[in-house]
């Protein structure tokens, strides 16, 4: 088989881009699940809200992409905090299923409201002028914005991993995941930590949404489209492992890209095929701890 290098590289790059979003989103899910014991089905809607926040900030406040990168996660994370205080905090002692159902309901409501208001054709969002253009790599062209998305996502993912695995704050988070009662009895305000963790996880989704806006356009259903794949990624990686979420996210994006090149017919299903294989052979996921 002849390898068409530019085409292969193009698919690989698309895979990496998708992988960046898979990684950011599954990382947020893993952080939330670890601390709250809740499978946050509203994650896709919150990703979409991040993209809309960027759009609104530009339309109504004249604040550009770079502002949105900072403000959208803060705003949407803040909404997440309200959701946690109002709804989720009552569910922690119940089975995972209740959190999943509640956040699923929230996702449908949020998505419905946005669709009602903005229809389902996408709203355009421009690539920031600093990142337009392409770089000639000799064998192919690399759009600057896409390179930025991959690098920045990777940096955010690794930064989050470092914070959780290597810092004192992260030690609190890990300890509270294991035994919240004892951590609280040491004098740490665990409920507040849980609230902020949810806000942070939601903020990561919103950040992914801002980065996605110039690539996929701003659309009420953009979250619903991606979240199913992200849940498959999470199942494959294993719930609750931070590095697992990152590696699996990028890895599966690349696998998807390669499949598009070598066997395009399977590119939409390859992740789900892998999910089935993993579920059968290693139910806790590739990086999951067996409970």
């Amino acid at each position: 088989m002849d390898i068409n290098l530019p085409a292969l590289f193009g698919q690989l790059l698309i895979g990496l881009i998708n992988g960046s979003f898979y990684a950011l989103l599954s990382l947020g899910l893993a952080v939330i699940f670890g601390m709250l014991n809740i499978i946050n089905f509203a994650h896709g809607a919150q990703y979409m809200m991040g993209a809309f926040a960027a759009y609104f900030l530009l339309q109504y406040a004249g604040l550009n992409y770079w502002w949105a990168l900072i403000l959208a996660p803060v705003i949407v994370g803040g909404i997440g905090i309200v959701i946690e205080r109002a709804f989720l905090q009552w569910l922690y002692k119940l089975d995972h299923l209740y959190g999943l159902l509640l956040t699923f309901g929230l996702a449908l409501i949020i998505q419905g409201l946005f669709r009602q208001q903005y229809g389902s054709s996408g709203l355009p969002y421009q690539i920031p002028p600093q990142l337009t253009g392409v770089r000639d790599l000799g064998f192919t062209f690399l759009p600057n914005y896409r390179a930025w998305v991959v690098c920045f996502s990777l940096a955010v993912c690794l930064g989050t991993w470092y914070m959780i695995e290597k810092t004192r704050l992260g030690a609190y988070l890990r300890a509270a995941t294991e035994n919240p009662t004892l951590v609280r009895a040491f004098g740490i305000n665990v409920p507040r930590m849980i609230t902020l963790t949810y806000g942070f996880g939601v903020g990561l989704a919103a950040l992914a949404g801002v980065m996605a806006a110039p690539i996929y356009a701003v659309n009420p259903t953009m979250g619903a489209d991606i979240i199913i794949v992200v849940f498959a990624v999470v199942v494959i990686g294993g719930m609750g492992s931070i590095m697992g979420a990152i590696v699996t996210g990028f890895g599966l994006g690349v696998v998807e890209g390669l499949t598009k090149y070598f066997f395009p017919e399977a590119s939409n299903t390859v992740i789900f095929v892998i999910m089935v294989i993993v579920l059968v052979t290693r139910p806790a996921g590739l990086f999951g701890r067996v409970a």
């Binding site: 004192r168 300890a175 294991e178 004892l182 004098g187």
Partner: protein, 238 residues
């Protein structure tokens, strides 16, 4: 350092506690004075651990009164109770598997000035220094117990609640923990100790309470120990 104008440092009055529907403590009353080592004895299931958890605010429902330095704690959440200056070392030790030894040691935040320094903790428990980068739960049982005690000495808490620190440990380790408790007492710590191991308790305690069915049924000082052996035998079967 220790203000005695408050009366007892810890004053527990008519304490009731429940796990869900089951009523476990039925009006326990006991005091701990500043600088004392007080031991709570009792058979399995008497409610000793529940008493400690109730003081720390980690039992579902509790009523009555728990005063520390004269301040009522009964309605406070457990993080506020800890910040009042109490520290708890649980029976199951509660070493975190996802933290290394150093992280475990440094986890409890300072609630007051005047806790031991890391160096002072390593002097008490030299084993810990050698194992700082090991996973917390990879330590031996004895080392885990040292870590569980060591980490609450940093916080500045002056009242330590130690739940069966000798459980399941070899005699030489038990001896080391006994020495540690005596040293801590010399340094001005106040300790409420739960023990099954009466022989060990008698080497460190100033006073004893005996608990049965969620109530205090007997109390005596260490000096009365010989007179009370019969009673002890009756309640504890020792």
């Amino acid at each position: 350092m220790l203000d005695r104008t408050f009366g007892p440092l810890l004053e527990i009055n008519d304490l009731h506690a429940w796990y869900g529907e089951s009523h476990i403590l039925h009006g326990a009353t006991l005091n701990v004075n500043a600088g004392e080592v007080v031991t709570l004895l009792g058979r399995n299931g008497a409610g000793k651990t529940t008493t400690m958890k109730s003081v720390m605010g980690i039992v579902g429902k509790r009523t009555g009164s728990v005063k520390f330095e004269g301040r009522e704690l009964i309605n406070l959440p457990s993080d506020a109770i800890a910040r009042a200056g109490l520290a708890f070392c649980p029976e199951e030790r509660g070493i975190f598997a996802s933290l290394d030894v150093e992280e475990n040691l440094m986890l409890p935040p300072q609630v007051r000035p005047g806790g031991l320094t890391r160096e002072q903790i390593f002097e008490l428990f030299p084993n810990l220094r050698e194992r700082l980068k090991s996973q917390g739960t990879k330590l031996s049982g004895g080392e885990q117990q040292m870590l569980a005690i060591g980490r609450i000495l940093r916080t500045g808490a002056r009242l330590l609640l130690l739940d069966e620190p000798t459980e399941g440990l070899a005699p030489v380790i038990i001896q080391q923990i006994g020495n540690t408790i005596r040293k801590l007492k010399e340094q001005g710590f106040t300790i409420l100790l739960v023990e099954q191991n009466f022989r060990f308790a008698s080497t460190v305690a100033d006073r004893y309470y005996i608990m049965e069915h969620g109530k205090i049924v007997e109390q005596f000082a260490n000096s009365e120990l010989n007179k009370k052996l019969e009673t002890l035998h009756e309640y504890l079967g020792v």
